[in-house]
């Protein structure tokens, strides 16, 4: 352990704001990327599921070709 106490750890020898800002920004970005990827995947799966249900209601034999590019990336 390089620090004696928690307050020394938080202060980082006077460089606290810089160290914590750098780590905070990095953590925020990594988390943001992760959450975005997850949200994207869930939204896509939800869309696909909704489509599948709709098609089932209309009868499984009806092919639907008019949805070309339905879920195009924004």
């Amino acid at each position: 352990m390089a620090f004696e106490s928690l307050s020394a750890f938080l202060a980082m020898g006077g460089h606290g704001p810089y160290v914590w800002a750098a780590y905070g920004a990095t953590a925020a970005l990594l988390l943001g990327v992760t959450l975005h990827a997850r949200a994207e995947r869930r939204a896509l799966l939800r869309d696909l599921r909704r489509r599948a249900r709709r098609e089932q209601r209309r009868g499984a034999s009806t092919p639907d070709s008019h949805q070309e590019g339905h879920a195009r990336e924004s």
Partner: protein, 246 residues
């Protein structure tokens, strides 16, 4: 080998295999990054010159490594797409570009914050920061070019060509910026070029770098799978998959 490449090229096969691999990379990324951060923040000794502000190295250097590696991976993916027409490679390349830009931004931000205690200013035209800034512009160019085409195939091929041109230029840019920097600021000391780092300092750095790489692979796998669903939403296997999930 060829069979393997062609299998990899099939979105369906890729979707399946990446589902199995992805959790491992997420777990490894989380574990390595947490261990590396705690070690780097609390247990690594302070630098005798810079004190505790040097701990920023544990996020700055991995982000900078990753920023460059992602560009190279993107160019390789573009090459694979152009030569073998493997669509999955292009989907992965498309997903890598924003992540690479984000990593470049993290490297720039942490470098700027690091600059305050070391140089006394938020921005110095330091060789490393300058090449990072140029890399950010290269990423913006690739992203903008991909977005500018209305046909997806043209967009993919144009972005691949630009990524390959960029990757040839990156070392040239890096060396010329280094040369330019030594010409103009010979006296300033560079924060990250230290002669010999003691083991207890570089082991956490290594862990962080590995963790960031795992994170990159995990995110790229996940987003490529999403992109497969998006692009192949009219394919039969995707519909069956959606039906199963219901």
């Amino acid at each position: 080998m060829w069979a393997f490449i062609h299998k990899l090229g099939s979105p369906k096969w890729f979707y399946g295999i990446s589902a199995r691999l992805s959790p491992w990379f997420w777990a490894a990324a989380a574990l390595l990054i947490v261990v590396g951060s705690v070690w780097g923040l609390a247990f690594a000794p302070a630098d005798y010159q810079q004190g505790n502000s040097f701990r920023i190295i544990y996020v700055h250097v991995p982000a900078a490594f990753l920023a460059q590696s992602i560009f190279v991976s993107m160019a390789i993916a573009g090459f694979v797409f152009m030569v073998w027409k493997i669509k999955v490679a292009d989907m992965a390349a498309a997903m890598m570009a924003p992540l690479g830009a984000a990593m470049t931004f993290v490297a720039l931000f942490s470098g700027a914050v690091w600059g305050v205690p070391t140089w006394g200013t938020w921005w110095m035209w330091d060789a490393r920061l300058t090449s990072m800034l140029i890399l950010l512009f290269l990423y913006f160019g690739v992203i903008a070019l991909r977005g500018a085409f209305s046909s997806r195939d043209s967009a993919s091929r144009a972005a691949s060509v630009l990524a390959m041109v960029g990757v040839i230029n990156i070392p040239i840019i890096k060396y010329s910026v280094d040369w330019w920097y030594t010409l103009h600021q010979p006296a300033t000391f560079s924060v990250t070029s230290r002669p010999a780092m003691p083991v207890e300092m570089w082991v956490p750095l290594l862990i962080m770098v590995l963790g960031f790489y795992c994170f990159f692979i995990a995110v790229t796998l996940m987003r490529t799978r999403s992109e497969i669903l998006r692009r192949e939403s009219n394919k039969r296997w995707v519909r069956e998959l959606a039906g199963e999930v219901t």
